[in-house]
Each structure stands twice: as C-alpha cells, then as structure tokens.
C-alpha cells in the first residue's frame, strides 16, 4: 500500500514535470555587448534600449521561445569589448548583438568569430570590417550608405568647394576618404583636414579653412565632442559657408536639447524625423513599445538597434526550429536573411554587409529634425543656405 502511494506520487510528479516542460518556453540566451559608459555611452544606451525593445516584441509574440538578453558594458574600449564577448560566450549565448564604434566592434567581432558566435551590429561602418572573410559577422548599415547620403545632399546643394574635417579614427577616416573620392569625381573641389580624436580647440583649424579653403560647405566626420568643438569654432569665426554637414550622432534629439543654438540648421544623417513620425505599422508598434519601456521617444540609434536585433531574433528562431541553434545554424540563417524592416529590405552579401542600406539626411530646424534628403523620404523643406550663426 505504502509502495503504491509512493509510486503514484512519483508518477504524478513526473507527469507534472512533463506538463510544465511542454508549457514552458525555451530560453535562448543572446549576448549584448554595448558601451554603457565611456565616450560612446550616449549611443550605447540607445542601442541597448533598441535591442531590449526588440526582445520584448519578440517575447510577446512567441510562446515557445523566450529571448533572454545578457548585457555587458564594454566601456567604449576595444579590450573590454573583447573581454565582454569572451564572458558572454562562457555564459552560453548563441549570438551577440550590439557594439558601437568600429575600433571596438572590430576586435570584439574577431573574438566572436574565433568562438564561432555570430555578431550583428549597426554601430560599425568601417569598410575593413567586412573584408576579413568572417562568416559570422553581419551589419545592417555601412559606410557606403552614409557616404551616399552625405554626397547626395551636397550634390543637391550644388556646392563647388567642400572642406572635410575628419577625426583620425578608422571609420571617420574611411568615410571622409570615400566622400572625397565621390565628390571629386563629381567635379567638386575637396580639401581634407585630419584631426586627432582628443583635439579640443578647433579655432586654428577653422581659421585655416575660412581663409585658405573658402569652401561652400564644411563636412564633419567625427563624433559628438568633435562636432561641438568644430561648430563652436565656426560660430566664432563665421566662415562664409552655406552649410555645416555632419554624420552620425549629430542630428539627434539629445544634441538639440543640450545645444539648441549651436545645432541650428546643421545637417546630419538621420533615418527618422523628430518628433518621430513612423509611416508603417511596424514602426508605430516599435515606437509604442519603446515608449512603454523607456518613457522617451526613440531616435535612429534605437531604431537601428531594434532592426539589427529583430533580424537576429528571426534567424535564431529559424535555427531553433530547424534544431541547429547549437551547431552554427544562427550564422547560416543570418546569411539567408531577406527581410523587410523599418529601414528597408535587409539582405546580406557574402561578406555580411547589408546590400540595400541607404541613409537619409536630416536638418535641425528649431527643436525639430526635418528629413531633407532624399526627396522621397523628405519630411520638410531644406533651409539653404543655413548655418548656426
């Protein structure tokens, strides 16, 4: 009798466990390597928030699999980014997403490749990253897309002389050189001025540009602190230019909030206008989820991160359903990606670059970011000539 009770209890317990097992979603660990501190903290935070939003959207839709994110701060340093990847691998992640800055993503993705982990990013556009022959590295944006946007805008402005001020970091240098080549081919006279990443006073450089180059427009290829320094020097010396054009991290709501006067009429790459106005249902769903999670309006950094994570999670799901999650299936599924997203169709070439990436150019007008290039994406009229002084 006692034996029978014990046996029945054991069978009931096993049955309960089995029932629970079938009802529970399977956890899939995804590593997130992002700079939450250091010089890239602002964009790193946006990236992390975009990825978290994508995970929340995925988990709400799928009962059988749950995406669990393990996030590590790489402190905007290459060595810490490599350490983050190694730590994430030891925790059993099946893929890594995030990353910002080509000099951080380069070594981090190399470490991931050695460990056989796919790495997908929207924060590293240096051309050399996709020339390494890795079949685990993917990115949704690239230098060509940024260059096309900047050159397209300057072409629309019909400028004849451009001075390019660029930081000597890899990505900014490659982008500046690419823009120089493209503009020169179109008959534009280009002057190149490299500066060290730590440079704080741009007065002498701006004076040289003002008196020697006398350009129609100044193109800035750098990061936030560089833009602030250059624009400050320009406001003092008032070069006779028609436009101040920058790249990433410039046309953002945060820059408008912090430096409203300095940023007026400045152009920068921006896939979204501000206030955000999503035209698609997917875009509106993203914005709603993002605002629910973080109580702020998303910017393009968060949007890109959301898209990169969504692409990854879709590949992970396919690999999980095919039973290849643990055997390199995620990278193979990522390579097969052909997906419509908020930033357009995403398809990777053999090197992991998104062949369809293109960007827009925005102009800061008052407390708004107006998309002014290309015409089919424009949300308003360009103020041209237009400078912050």
């Amino acid at each position: 009798m006692k034996c029978s009770i014990l046996r029945n209890a054991f069978l009931a317990a096993v049955a309960c466990c089995m029932a629970v097992g079938t009802a529970q979603a399977k956890d899939i660990l995804i590593g997130v390597d992002v700079p939450m501190t250091g010089s890239l903290a602002r964009v790193g935070t946006g990236t992390a928030q975009g990825i978290e939003t994508a995970a929340a959207v995925f988990n709400a839709k799928h009962d059988d699999y749950t995406i669990k994110l393990i996030q590590i701060d790489d402190e905007s340093q290459p060595a810490k980014a490599v350490a983050a990847v190694e730590k994430l691998a030891s925790e059993g992640v099946v893929a890594i997403t995030g990353g910002y800055g080509s000099n951080n993503v380069g070594p981090a993705s190399a470490a991931a490749n050695e460990l056989g982990l796919p790495y997908i990013t929207s924060g590293a556009i240096d051309s050399s990253l996709t020339q390494r022959g890795f079949n685990t590295f993917f990115r949704i944006n690239n230098a060509q897309g940024y260059r096309k946007a900047v050159v397209g805008l300057l072409e629309t402005m019909q400028v004849k002389k451009v001075s390019i001020l660029y930081s000597t970091k890899e990505a900014t240098t490659h982008l500046a050189q690419g823009a120089e080549k493209a503009l020169s081919e179109k008959g534009v006279t280009v002057s190149m001025h490299a500066f060290s990443p730590g440079m704080t006073s741009f007065t002498s450089l701006m004076n040289k540009v003002r008196l020697r180059d006398r350009p129609d427009a100044i193109l800035m290829s750098g990061y936030e602190n560089d833009y602030i320094g250059i624009l400050r020097a320009a406001r003092i010396l008032k070069p006779d230019v028609k436009a101040m054009v920058g790249l990433w991290s410039l046309a953002t709501p945060r820059m408008i909030e912090d430096f409203p006067k300095l940023m007026q009429n400045v152009y920068g790459t921006a896939s979204l206008p501000y206030p955000v106005n999503f035209k698609t249902e997917a875009g509106r769903a993203f914005a709603k989820q993002y605002q629910a999670l973080f109580h702020i309006t998303p910017d393009y950094v968060a949007e890109y991160a959301f898209v990169q994570a969504r692409v990854l999670f879709a590949a992970v799901l396919r690999a999980a359903e095919a039973g290849t999650l643990e055997t390199g299936g995620v990278a193979k599924e990522l390579a097969k990606t052909d997906m419509q997203t908020m930033i357009g169709r995403i398809r990777f070439d053999a090197k992991g670059d998104n062949v369809n990436f293109s960007n827009n150019m925005g102009q800061i007008q008052g407390d708004k970011i107006v998309i002014v290039w290309p015409d089919n994406q424009a949300s308003g009229e360009m103020v041209f000539p237009g400078v912050p002084w």
Binding site: G38, A41, T200, S204, N207, L211, R235, D258, K261
Partner: protein, 289 residues
C-alpha cells in the same frame, strides 16, 4: 598675414589655458617633488561642478567657482594626507598612489555624472569677441586674464608672503626649513590647497569654453606635466612661457601642417627642450617655489 596672426593669437590663448591647468601641478611638484597624477582629474571635477551648477540652477557657470573651490580643495587636501602617509620612496610611490586616485576620481565622476559629453550653453561666454582682426570666444579671453592674474598673485605670494617663503624654503631644503621653525607638513598642505584653488579655476574655465567627458582628466594631467617639465621644476614664469610655447606650437602646426600632428608637435617640443635644456626653460635659477 591674417592667418598667422590668428594662429598666434589662438595659440597664446590656448597657452594661457594650459598654463592655468599646469600651475597647480608645478607648485606641488616644486614643493614636495610629488607629481600629482590626479591633478587633471581635480581640474575635471571642478568642470563637472560648473556643469552641475549651470544645469541645475540655470545660472552662469562662473557662479560655480565657490562650490568648485570647496570641493576641489577638499579633494586636494585628501590627496595630500594620503601622499603624506608614504614613508619610503615618496617620489615613486606617490606616482602610483596619485595615478590610482586619478582612476578613482574618473570613475566617481562617471558614476555621478554619466559618460555623456557636456559643454556650457552660457551665451555670453560662448559668444565671439573681436580684438581688431582677431577672433576668440569671450570665455577664453576672460579666463586668459584670470590665468595671468592668478599667476601674478601666486608669484607675489611665493616671493613676499611668509607662507610663500616657507614653501620655497621647504622646497629648497626640507630639513633646514624645519630647523628654522617652519612646519613642513603645514607648508606642504598649504601648497596642496593652493593647487586645489588653481585647479578649481582651471576646471570652471575648461567647462566654460570647452567640452568635458569623464575620460578627459588624464589628458589634462599630461598637458600639465609637459608644461611643468618644460618650465623647469617649480618655476612660475616658466609655466606661463611653457604654456604659451605649447599653445603656439600646436596652433602653428594646425595652421601650417596638419591638425593630426598637433599632439606630436607638442611632444617634439617637449623632447627638444629637454634635450637642449635638461632642467627646463627656467631651470633652477629663476625658481620661486
């Protein structure tokens, strides 16, 4: 002509800024033979105080000077008491200690104010000022004047006041100064307090016309160190001349070569001066501290 004049003008103003940053380090180096590698972080701390005052109270960052003086001097005094605990090999061990303190300060700044880039939005300080055909930012000219005044006051203090003479005596011969009734510990403490005052002004200046982020501290320390060595140990006029030399060299390099070579030019100047004049520009003859 406009190009070279503007270049020299920008270089002189930048040099004044460098001299203000380097002055505190030079004073402590002169009196205690201690290279305070946390000096840049103390300057940066003052800059963050200015940011807090401006962003929270919505007033000019210049009003932050009293707050910065209190906080930075308190930190400077803490650095002194920690350095004073070193009993052996003070010159070498203080390097390690102050380097560590710099790292702690950087991380404290990071935790308190986050890693975002900050800069003043004060319109008056940011606006352009024309001096004949030359342009500059109003804040930069203002703090150039402040730097000159502070250096003059420090020069007078070292030359004429009792404490100033005591600082020079301790710097010259600690044991002899003690025999003459000077308390070396008090004198060294005073040096650190004065260095804290100078760092507070330098920090508010940097925030008023520049861009700050938590990792900027060590760059400031390097600049201050270069100027201190260029000047010759403890030389106050040397600090000013060293700052001008560095500022003008960098500015001319940007104008006539490449801005990417700016830092390199500064280091070449540093090595060239050391090669020709191993005791720095002003050596030990003109020392006032």
């Amino acid at each position: 002509m406009d190009l070279i004049l503007q270049s020299l003008f920008s270089g002189v103003l930048q040099g004044g800024s460098y001299a203000l940053i380097g002055l505190g380090l030079a004073l402590v180096f002169g009196t205690m033979k201690v290279i305070n590698l946390a000096h840049g972080e103390l300057v940066l701390l003052a800059a963050y105080v200015a940011y807090t005052v401006e962003s929270q109270l919505h007033i000019s960052p210049l009003w932050a000077i009293p707050f910065a003086l209190v906080l930075v001097c308190a930190c400077s005094v803490t650095v002194y008491f920690l350095v004073a605990r070193i009993k052996t090999d003070r010159e070498l061990n203080s390097l390690i200690l102050t380097y560590g303190l710099g790292v702690i300060l950087t991380n404290a700044i990071l935790l308190t104010w986050s890693a975002d880039v900050h800069s003043s939005t004060a319109g008056w300080l940011q606006s352009a000022l024309m001096v004949g055909p030359l342009f500059s930012m109003r804040g930069k000219v203002l703090f150039f004047g402040v730097a000159i005044v502070l250096m003059a006051v420090l020069w007078w203090w070292l030359a004429r006041s009792w404490y100033g003479r005591a600082v020079r005596a301790v710097s010259s011969n600690r044991a002899a100064a003690k025999i003459m009734g000077i308390n070396p510990r008090t004198t060294e403490l005073v040096s650190f307090i004065v260095a804290g005052i100078l760092a507070a002004f330098a920090g508010v200046a940097i925030y008023s016309y520049g861009v700050i982020e938590p990792s900027a501290g060590h760059v400031l320390t390097i600049k201050a160190f270069i100027i201190t060595v260029l000047a010759g140990i403890g030389s106050i006029p040397g600090v000013l001349i060293g700052g001008f030399l560095l500022g003008i060299t960098e500015s001319l390099t940007v104008t006539y070569a490449s801005s990417a070579l700016q830092e390199l030019a500064g280091m070449v100047l540093f090595l060239a001066v050391l090669f020709v004049m191993p005791n720095g520009l002003f050596g030990s003859r003109a020392r006032r501290g």
